[in-house]
């Protein structure tokens, strides 16, 4: 297991990039802890796969270095970096049995057969495929195949990191739950450094200790799931995490009061806003309470999505989404209040901290 240092990494696919826009990855400078579970989250084209390929050694960054435990591995091949990877579509050796698939990386490294056997059997037990060990891998279901891919990585107990590239894409929703919690358990049990690429916020948030949100070739925020949820540092994070995403409304700040159209909300501090900044107020749908008090809203639509209801409404001319419990009953003249602790203020899309 290793600590991963990304030292001022930039990457462009074409030669001689002229502007920032030509970089698929603009500037990444971070250190990821040994044994951490990291998720790279973002929409397609945000650079997350590029970053993963730089870590795995498939791509050479145009600038910067990558270090494992302080050793520069920038020029090492994938094989020399000693990492494991699980791909979007299960990669298995069709003609081999499940057992041989797991033994393959060990045998390639010249490990003695009794050791291979012991470790393969242990791994079969862990990934719950002992009963299938003599089956041809070709005949398994997608989730079983994905477990084999994972097992092939885990069976080598000396890997520096395990990389996941949207590993649950082809898995049915019910099996996703099982595989996801198993992954998390492996992580707790073995303490591997894990990097997980996905566009699915639920996967990212439930898997990772630290989620790295990427947008347009940059890391916009690294934080725990709770931090990303409660204090999105950029309106993009607010939008991208949560479903529905955060309500972001144009607003004005005067001292310690923020106004939305005709509605004014008192703050417990005066945010520092420079003149001419585009000011926005962010509040998550989960932190809006609907009842008889507060600001008047007109409800336009209610979506019953089972365990909760999504209320679409208009507040001071702005469309907002509110998440309510499945048992909610609306008053005839509904009003809303915002949880004061959940208000986020943005200047030019970046969050204005209390201390700033």
């Amino acid at each position: 297991m290793a600590r991963i240092t990304l030292d001022h990494i930039r990457h462009a696919y074409g030669p001689n990039p002229k502007s920032d826009a030509a970089y698929a990855l603009r500037e990444v400078d971070h250190e990821w802890a040994d044994g951490g579970a990291y998720a790279l989250l973002g929409p397609s084209g945000c650079g997350k796969t590029t970053l993963l390929n730089i870590i795995s050694g498939l791509l050479q960054p145009s600038h910067g270095r990558i270090l494992f435990d302080g050793n520069d591995v920038t020029n090492l091949s994938t094989q020399e970096r000693n990492i494991a990877q699980v791909f979007q579509f299960p990669v298995i050796y069709d003609t081999m049995t499940v057992y041989d698939n797991l033994a393959f990386p060990l045998r390639n490294r010249g490990i003695a057969e009794p050791d291979v056997d012991r470790r393969v059997r242990e791994m079969l037990e862990i990934i719950d495929l002992s009963d299938w060990s003599n089956r041809k891998a070709q005949r398994l279901t997608a989730d079983q195949k994905q477990k084999i891919s994972l097992g092939r990585g885990l069976v080598r107990n000396d890997v520096n990191a395990i990389l996941f590239d949207e590993p649950l894409t082809v898995i049915d929703p019910h099996m996703k739950w099982v595989l996801r919690s198993q992954l998390k358990r492996f992580h707790k049990q073995f303490g591997f450094t894990m990097v997980y690429v996905t566009h699915d916020q639920t996967e990212a948030l439930t898997f990772a200790d630290k989620v790295v949100v990427m947008y347009d070739g940059q890391i916009v925020q690294i934080g725990t799931p709770a931090e990303l949820f409660e204090r999105p540092s950029h309106t993009f994070v607010g939008y991208f995490i949560g479903s529905p995403g955060m309500n972001v409304m144009p607003a004005e700040v005067h001292g310690s009061t923020i106004t939305l159209g005709s509605e004014a909300i008192a703050l417990d501090h005066a945010p520092k806003i420079a003149a001419g900044d585009k000011v926005e107020l962010g509040i998550r749908p989960e932190f809006i309470r609907i009842g008889r008090e507060g600001m008047p809203v007109t409800v336009t639509r209610v979506e019953d999505i089972g365990r909760r209801k999504i209320v679409r409404a208009n507040l001071a001319g702005q469309p907002i989404a509110i998440v309510a419990s499945e048992d909610i009953e609306f008053p005839t003249e509904p009003r809303v209040t915002f949880d004061p602790g959940a208000l986020n203020i943005y200047a030019n899309s970046w969050r204005v901290g209390r201390e700033a």
Partner: protein, 356 residues
């Protein structure tokens, strides 16, 4: 109206679709929900006329169309893969069905622009599909289906290859876009949450059988049997096998819980009780909560909520609790079960009395 009367499809002596009766009204959105290989695509192919049923008949607006070729049925289909003409511009792609139908240039131009506006494709009309993002490519395919003015629009997991957030947006737009056209919409998905967000009606499928058909939220809240309940639950349902005697469900040697009023009609004897993960909590939310003890396995944090995986009496359970609860594995915790939403199933798997 599209009616399937005793429609069955056999391939190689096995039923791919068991004899099925289904009637879909004009102007409705109908979701086919089921895991991979449950028969969603097969059923759609029968509806479209791409396959001829082994037995039974398909009626459209009262006329038997069983053997009528798909070209003559005015059907539009959208697939998981983004299928467009790669050499044609977005404009020509959208126009293609109308060109085939021999519409005049003015009508074509008007319709293309209207559809492009609805699907936010206006800036890209001159591009070819390969220069578009996945979401834009799929919107082009949707626009083509829209201008075809088909009486039956079939969508086979149309959003599966898109980013999570894009899915969220298109999912919200789709029912609105198609609502005005008066066609019958059929939408296949593996994801229960998607069915709930789309609303309309849902038919749950399992192993080539429609297990239940009705308004989406009804099927979710009042599944007719265990199979439907399992198919339509994400996160997965929790189960306990209990014995009802008089006013209590006995679930362990000595423990029991009071039968909630809505299940008082359940006859004495063995019963399977099911409930959703969000009906378990760490605190009692109502007076009807029953206290239980379980062993934790792993916690997953989504930012605002926690999924806690646990073992109850040897059975896997999941709790979805608001707030952040990082609970150590293998800890005994006390839980409260909101009994107002319990579902009960007999030994034959049929629902006995649905949750209120």
């Amino acid at each position: 109206m599209l009616e399937m009367r005793n429609v069955a499809k056999m391939v190689g002596g096995e039923y791919h679709i068991h004899p099925t009766n289904l009637a879909l009204d004009r102007g409705t959105l109908n979701v086919l929900l089921g895991p991979t290989l449950s028969g969603k695509t097969s059923l759609m192919r029968l509806m479209a006329g791409l396959d001829r049923p082994t037995s039974g008949s398909v009626y459209f607006d009262g006329a038997d169309v069983t053997g009528v070729a798909v070209q003559k049925r005015n059907v539009a289909m959208v697939y998981q893969q983004f299928i467009n003409y790669p050499a044609l511009t977005v404009y020509e792609n959208i126009a293609s069905p109308m060109r085939i139908a021999g519409k005049d240039a003015a009508t074509i131009d008007r319709e293309v622009r209207r559809a492009a506006e609805l699907l936010r494709l206006t800036p890209y009309l001159d591009r070819t599909p390969l220069n578009l993002s996945g979401g834009q490519q799929q919107r082009t395919a949707l626009a083509r289906a829209l201008v075809k003015n088909a009486s039956l629009v079939l969508m086979d997991e149309p959003l599966a290859n898109l980013d999570y957030k894009l899915r969220e947006e298109l999912r919200e737009e789709l029912p609105k876009i198609f609502a005005q056209s008066g066609a019958i919409f059929v939408y296949a998905t593996t994801e229960p949450s998607e069915a709930l967000l789309l609303g309309g009606n849902t038919a749950t499928l399992s192993e080539g059988r429609i297990t239940q058909f009705g308004p989406t939220i009804e099927v979710y809240r009042r599944p007719a049997d265990l199979v439907t309940a399992k198919t339509f639950a994400d996160p997965p349902l929790n189960f306990i096998n209990v014995v009802k005697s008089g006013g209590s469900f006995r679930y362990q040697e000595a423990d029991s819980l009071a039968v909630p009023p809505h299940l008082s009609g359940v006859p004495d004897g063995p019963v399977t009780i099911a409930f959703h993960p969000h009906h378990l909590g760490l605190t009692a939310q109502t007076g009807n909560a029953a206290k239980l003890k379980a062993q934790t396995q792993i916690s997953e944090i989504t930012g605002s909520e926690s999924f806690v995986h646990m073992h109850y009496d040897g059975v896997r359970w999941v709790m979805l609790a608001p707030g952040i609860h990082e609970i150590d594995p293998d800890t005994e915790i006390e839980l409260f079960l909101d009994t107002r939403h319990l579902m009960a199933f007999g030994t034959d798997g049929r629902a006995i009395a649905a949750a209120a």
